[in-house]
Symmetry: C2
Subunit: 259 residues, 2 copies
Amino acid sequence: MKTLEEIHDEIINGHLYYLRNVSIDNVIFGYHNKELKVLLQRPQGIHKWVLSGGYIKRTESIDEAAKRIARERTGLDDLYLTQFMAFGNPDRTTDPDIPTRLISKLVNIKDAKDFWMFDYFVSIGYYTLTEFELVKPNGEFNMEECQWWDIKKLPPLLFDHREILVAAFKAMRLHLYHYPIGYELLPHKFTLPEIHTLYETILGKKLDSRNFAKKLISTGIIKKLNERRNIGPHRSPFLYIFDKVKYDKALKNGMVLAI
Amino acid sequence: MKTLEEIHDEIINGHLYYLRNVSIDNVIFGYHNKELKVLLQRPQGIHKWVLSGGYIKRTESIDEAAKRIARERTGLDDLYLTQFMAFGNPDRTTDPDIPTRLISKLVNIKDAKDFWMFDYFVSIGYYTLTEFELVKPNGEFNMEECQWWDIKKLPPLLFDHREILVAAFKAMRLHLYHYPIGYELLPHKFTLPEIHTLYETILGKKLDSRNFAKKLISTGIIKKLNERRNIGPHRSPFLYIFDKVKYDKALKNGMVLAI
DNA sequence: ATTTAATATGTAAATTATACGTAATAATTT
DNA sequence: AAATTATTACGTATAATTTACATATTAAAT
């Protein structure tokens, strides 16, 4: 947690530590119990929500910046972030509800417009998908709220953040067919119905369970164990684990999952 | 063409007109007569080559900037540019052969390092594909050469430009299966063998001509004419044109071309 | 009329994807 | 102990798609 002094310094002198005119926006998707959500924050005094964004330090790569920013927001260190698109036009961060007032007050600035923070920023979009029970949502200093929103019931978003979110969602759904998911989302040992439900939730459609299992198993990224999960008064499903070697290879080189 | 005065002003005061720390790099692929090439420039006094890059004006979007920069380099106004990735890490533009000397001399700067131009830049990568006979290669003011290079015999590249080029090439090959190409590359009326060769050249592999024709025609993006091209002492192939409405729809919404 | 080198075209086989139903089972209830 | 309940496990037949492949046609030159 940053001190107020550090925050004040960052607001005033941020352009000395951070790159100007280029920033990161992270779309943090959370999955839990058949629900897909996205982490949003609401700036103080504003009634629209924003993605978790941040600036790039002069000493770090854009991938590192995205990871640091995601860590600050979620407390998680092992997020797998995917860069999907850059957004940049002079109007992208104009909005009648632009939240400059608060910061202007914090640092006693006459005209926030003169300020590095409110300049034209090109934003590099990353997304990640995580188990949302693991996350301690932790808003930025000037945020009034930080919470998960169901992907189907989004609140009004500030700036072009809805456009970014939608682009991330589309990119994620496409990536699903070429890269594995689930390692950070499911327990170490999971059942076929669990991973099946995960895919159905993200894609927002039913997948035939027999065909899904056949295809997923044929990729080699999961291995069947000789154990079952006790799920109460029903037949006990077998447990599976990810074959981490093949999983990582598929993350790196891609695969085909024609579900 | 810019005057020397304008250039001098841009070098000194560029940060007033352009965004800092974020730039565009265009990978300009050129196709002609069964050859796929890429447009590169060689900075004065340096023996490595660079992509055509540029800065983003404070008044334009990144897409507009990419288009303007590509126009400056090729003289062409109707290039279709595709954003494929952003590149950013503190070392990406360090190189033992870094071409600061020339510019330092031009503007009488003691230490080029203090200069906005030689700061850490995050670069947004775009690629385009054009008929290279149409292009008048036109290097930037401080470039000694600007020419097409065969994609299979690249010269040494400066900075991370080889990485960017390779990423663009991969992205282009992938896009080929989901978006149409050819409109800017082929004559208005073209034959099946011509478009077949285009795809083979870009993909770098043989495609069965019967199956290729079947699949391409089934997308609906080309229409057969009742005319033939005279190609000398051989059977005259039929001419085709693009169905521009369907072509543009496929550019926008994607398509499947399972070649 | 012959030669040459290119274009045009269709089908059978192989592969892949889809659709679909029933038996097994774990714990709870009766 | 038997019955109930809700869930998992599993295989095959059909449809759709993709792949492989060979011959007749033709335009101009000789």
